[in-house]
Amino acid sequence: MSVQTADAGLDSKLWSGRRRALRRNLTAFLFLLPTFLFLAIFMYQPTFNVIYHTFFRWDGFTLERFVGFKNYITMVNDPNMHIATRNLGWFFLGWMLQRISPFLVAELVFNLKRERSKYWYRTLFVLPMVVPFLVTIMIWKFIYNPLPTIGVLNRMLGSFGLEEWQTAWLSEPSLVILALLFVGFPWISGWPFMIFYAGLQQIPSEVLDASVMDGCNVWQRMVRIDIPLVITSIQLVAIQTMIGIIQEFAFVLIMTAGGPAKASLVPGLLLFMAAFRGDQMGYGATIGVTMFIAIFILTLLSFRYTTSPFARTRRTRET
């Protein structure tokens, strides 16, 4: 008798447990529904749609015909793509250095003695972030204005008596990439600075005290202590920057539209032109998928090769 009731109790408990799990699943499903609706329609579907259509000749609306890997072969042989990739190499180098260099400024601010001055420098360096990126770009376009009386840079050269250096900065094929890279100088204000500073604040004060005791100078401390300890922040900035650079084109589109004569063309801009100005959706999609693959591989590689510095420092200390 008692066994029977216990059994029934267990049974009903199991059943009610299962019903509760079912209800939990249903609740979770309802909570997740809006998010997944949005993601399915505007993220997953377009992604697969785009990948699928790289194998077609396609103007976006009528599928013309299946062409296999022809789009990819066209891309590899496209002289515009060669120019764009070479330009991207220069941008990659320059922008990468720009995004990492605020680390030095973060060190400068972090090494100040008074908390108050640290606070003020930090706030002031971050302040220009309130200006929308596009506005900053347009102000720089004004700085590069080709007129000797209007362009800030040309006017500055003029007042130093260097009239022969005045030029149309964004229309010289040999200068345009340098001019574009110089935009935003001295490249401090931005989220990398915030991340680096937060990373430095995370270093335990005992470690810093110990380094002072051991009489280690600033340079040694930065190389031996700060960099290894904030390497994850640096890695985060580097990966985010890399992802951003590979697909960047809005900046170039606004500044030069890839000109003069393709001298500042980048792959993202080629995609934009092919897909939205040339009715070659399939080809544009191909460039997009290639960028995705490049980003994916580079991200994996950078995770593989940059998470180990902790181990490396430990080893050098032991020897």
Partner: protein, 291 residues
């Protein structure tokens, strides 16, 4: 050698007088370098504000210094040119922020506090989107908007913006919700609270700082976007602020004053929002979110 003294973070420097002196010199150098970098950083914005208060003639004659009388009507001209696009941008950004916060907080609550089947799988499905570059989905999203008949409509911006902001928002909020103490929820569950009540009465009120950060990030990215509105919007009365500014720039070849005034006006809303955030509760957390 002297570098050691100054840059040690916690030296109280009880050393001899010469060291003290050189330390002071080093400290002055340190500040001078930082101030110089600050001046370089602010130079373009300083020039923009200066130019926004000048007529073309004043600009030609006196480039580097303020010129009087100040041409305040530049701002009136700029305002008349772009106020319509400021309204449009506000509508779009508010719509996107509301949508992202609502959907992402619901989803993040489920991921963080409800133990349901395939939770990890569903979570990784969302996170994997962080790997997809925006440029890849650009073409696909464009075709969707055309098919849905949302071309030249603000909804054609708001809906994809919500979708685009969700992955990162869910990631941030899930982390935050999982860190809330379980006891709070346990107590509510004892009292027979439903998940929706716990979400509304416990999770949401406790997560105001992080919600503010997610809202701010969504606001900034949608407010400053240029490419997507360029593809979707056709008629000037629908233009968002960035398109309006680009059009204004194209139209005003020599009216640098009003143009720069327009740039200043365009920066005011973002400035107000960021300063408000810093002032209230999110300033510290804003930095913390990036750790």
């Amino acid at each position: 050698m002297t570098g050691q003294t100054v840059d040690r973070p916690f030296t109280s420097s009880p050393d001899a007088a010469p060291v003290e002196l050189s330390a002071r010199f080093q400290s002055a150098l340190h500040h001078a370098l930082l101030v110089f970098l600050l001046l370089l950083t602010f130079f373009p914005f300083f020039i923009a504000i200066l130019t926004s208060l000048k007529s073309f003639q004043q600009l030609l004659v006196n480039f580097w210094l303020p010129a009087f009388p100040l041409q305040l009507h530049n701002y009136v001209m700029a305002w008349n040119e772009i106020y319509r696009s400021i309204i449009n941008s506000s509508l779009v950004s508010l719509g996107a922020v509301t949508g992202v916060l609502l959907c992402a907080s619901l989803a993040a609550y489920a991921f963080a506090r409800i133990d349901f089947a395939w939770r990890d799988g569903a979570y990784y499905l969302v996170l994997s989107l962080l790997m997809i570059p925006g440029v890849l989905t650009l073409i696909g999203r464009y075709l969707l908007i055309v098919q849905f008949g949302l071309m030249n409509s603000l909804w054609g911006l708001i809906l994809p913006y919500i979708a685009g902001g969700l992955a990162f928002a869910v990631f941030l909020l899930t982390g935050f919700f999982s860190d809330l103490p379980e006891e709070l929820f346990e107590a509510a569950r004892m009292d027979g609270g439903t998940e929706l009540q716990m979400y509304r009465l416990i999770a949401l009120p406790l997560s105001r700082p992080i919600m503010a950060i997610v809202g701010l990030l969504t606001f900034l990215s949608t407010w400053g976007d240029y490419v997507w509105p360029l593809l979707v919007l056709r008629s000037p009365e629908k233009f968002t602020l960035m398109l309006g500014l680009a059009k204004f720039t194209g139209n005003s070849q020599v009216m640098f004053g009003p143009l720069m005034a327009g740039y200043v006006i365009a920066s005011i809303p973002t400035a107000i929002i960021i300063v408000l955030m810093m002032r209230t509760f999110a300033g510290a957390a804003l930095v913390g979110a990036f750790k």
